[in-house]
């Protein structure tokens, strides 16, 4: 496959996976912090690699803030949101590079539920003037929900989805792009 075809296929793949991330998050928005986002980003990180996952995350954050029917987060919180979701591919390609099992990834996902919430603290206390303890106490409930949601989804769905995704990815890149008959 030529580099050009590879780039087109990569772009399509990134767009599809970013769409899946966006749709599931919007569909589950009525449930506070219960979503498959962490699971999917973990999965993308392990199957697609750091660069593609980072691009998917960046597209997702902008899409969710521009297109979500529930509205955007305040602009000052967007960097925290980008950093929060990017933390998964960053951590999984650095200090947790060897974490491959669903158990270890589920525990990382559980901890991430809290870390993601804490990333919004600096802007909340320094720019929005929310008192630190008030924010921490009010948010802890939602951090627990996200931590449990991440733990369960990764523990149960990571391995079957990874198997499925690897198979589909291999098939996708194996199919060659033939010139059309008119051009032959």
């Amino acid at each position: 496959m030529s580099q050009k075809h590879q780039a087109i296929k990569d772009s399509a793949l990134i767009a599809i996976f970013a769409s899946i991330l966006f749709v599931q998050q919007v569909a589950l928005s009525f449930l506070p912090n219960i979503q498959f986002t962490a699971l999917l980003i973990v999965l993308y990180s392990r199957v697609l690699g750091f660069k593609k996952t980072s691009l998917i995350v960046i597209i997702h954050v902008f899409a969710i803030n521009i297109l979500s029917p529930f509205g955007p987060v305040i602009p000052m919180q967007i960097p925290a949101m980008v950093l929060g979701w990017l933390l998964i591919p960053i951590l999984l390609h650095t200090i947790f590079k060897k974490a491959e099992s669903a158990w270890s990834l589920a525990i990382i996902g559980f901890l991430f539920g809290f870390i993601y919430g804490w990333l919004f603290i600096p802007v909340s206390i320094w720019i929005l003037d929310v008192p630190f303890l008030t924010y921490l106490y009010a948010d802890i409930l939602f951090e627990i929900i996200m931590a449990v949601s991440n733990f369960l989804t990764i523990l149960w769905l990571y391995e079957p989805l990874k198997k499925l995704l690897i198979e589909q990815k291999n098939r996708y890149y194996m199919i060659g792009v033939e010139p059309s008959s008119e051009l032959k």
């Binding site: 008192p131 802890i140 627990i144 449990v148 733990f151």
Partner: protein
């Protein structure tokens, strides 16, 4: 098989622990006895429009106390003004009404949630600090001092 059993056990433990924590953190605070609290209400211009003791009865929530004394406007499910306060937000992790307006014969404060909101603060003896729960779940005790004030979103919270 062993792994699946282990996963089921771990999932049950995590969900149960979280459910206990969520229940503990979302306790519906009701008055244990009859009594009174001091309510201070501050309007859009920063003027104190109400400052008086208000009575509460056993099993009252803070919302019940306010409803007995004032005319309240709450948020509907789409965050529109609802003077009947009939809608109660109910979801895993949060439950209760959202207060958008409060008034009596002498004053009226109305917020729209998008650009303004009602801040509820509790006096701890030296300063006011923001309540960590909504109007339906705020904990209050005899002689507590609670301030309700109009806030523009751009002002920040403190």
């Amino acid at each position: 098989m062993k792994t699946t059993v282990l996963k089921i056990v771990a999932s049950i433990i995590v969900v149960l622990t979280a459910a206990i924590l969520v229940h503990f953190l979302t306790t519906n605070n009701q008055a244990l006895d009859d009594g009174s609290i001091r309510i201070i209400i501050v309007d859009e211009d920063g003027q104190t429009v109400f400052d008086d003791d208000v009575i509460f009865m056993k099993d009252d929530t803070f919302y019940d106390v306010l409803q007995r004394e004032f005319d309240l406007t709450c948020a509907s499910s789409t965050y529109q003004s609802d003077p009947t306060c009939s809608y109660i937000f109910q979801s895993f992790g949060y439950e209760g009404r959202i207060l958008l307006g409060i008034s009596n014969d002498d004053f009226s404060i109305q917020t729209d949630w998008a650009d303004s909101f009602i801040a509820i603060e509790i006096y701890d003896g030296t300063d006011y600090y923001l309540a960590t729960q909504g109007v339906s779940n705020i904990e209050f005790l005899e002689n507590d001092q609670i301030r309700i004030s109009f806030r523009a979103v751009t002002e920040g919270l403190s």
